[in-house]
Symmetry: C2
Subunit: 180 residues, 2 copies
């Protein structure tokens, strides 16, 4: 699996079921959402701005590959009539390949904290995409794998930057919306 | 990672948070449970009986390694006062190594259907343990990985034997109970 193949396979509209596990409090969270992934041009202004504003050393050694936009619209299972429970947003993600199976991702909005984020990615030998993002207070480790052409799984682990404490985990099952 | 190391690291009592996703109906299930894993002797009678009753061809080519007993006691989040919601059980699992990173597992009770099951296992290059079990009506694909010494994650995908339909997925976060 290469990042080009991965982004191409991920493109489209996905219906996501996501479960969050808060380990210390043994609390579950359930979120239904819609995720849209679409490739954008390398010459897109937002892509160029994101690259210019990033402080990646040796940026020239990396090759900009398959940038894409991700949009999500989440609706919590609890109190769906409360508008504050519906969260949505979008971000631009620019992969910078180092070699066939690894590189960096620049995201205009981070996953665990709402700041721009730089992640390291790496493919496992079965094509599983793994992603590590260092935030100020935490480290997020994600993995994404396709179980069929139209179903992908996504897991995340959030650990404290300081120690090895695991704060929370999550798991999403994503089914492609056909003709939607 | 070898199966010996994996079983040794898995031994102990675990507090498990498990989320099930029914994809067709978009239904969530939440289960809290306690899982106990303990190694047993290769010469144990139950281990010998399980091996004798199994119809694995070329059993002699495989090496019995680190058999263990797994016990679980699950308590659904819903109606915990209803005794029918509490399910518990145990099984014996006997790994048969083929080489350092793959082999078979014989289980006295299956995961998706309650019959003895033979699984194929394989370690990914980052130590993730993957397991495929063919049942009569379905195929279960599981993966287990340690995110720290005392936290492990477990995901499963259940697909129809006939086609590529994905019936359900699940994800468990398991935290080791220290001094319990």
């Amino acid at each position: 699996m290469t990042i080009e193949q991965f982004v191409a396979q991920s493109s489209g509209k996905w219906r996501s079921m996501r479960s969050g596990h808060s380990l210390a409090f043994q609390q579950f969270e359930e979120v239904l959402s819609e995720v849209t992934i679409e490739q954008i041009d390398k010459e897109n202004t937002a892509v160029k701005q994101l690259l210019e504003s990033s402080i990646i050393a040796n940026q020239d050694d990396h090759l900009v590959t398959s940038p894409f936009r991700m949009e999500w619209c989440a609706e919590s299972d609890w109190e769906p009539e409360d508008p504050s429970e519906v969260s949505s947003g979008s971000c631009i993600i620019v992969p910078l390949t180092k070699d066939n199976c690894s590189g960096k991702l620049i995201r205009s909005v981070g996953y665990a904290e709402s700041e721009a984020a730089i992640s390291e990615y790496h493919f496992l030998d079965d094509g599983t995409f793994t992603l590590t993002t260092q935030y100020e207070q935490s480290i997020a480790e994600e993995r994404i794998w396709f179980v069929s052409e139209n179903v992908r799984c996504r897991s995340s682990v959030l650990r404290t930057s300081a120690g090895s404490g695991i704060l929370q985990t999550s798991f999403a099952s994503e089914v492609r919306r056909i003709n939607a």
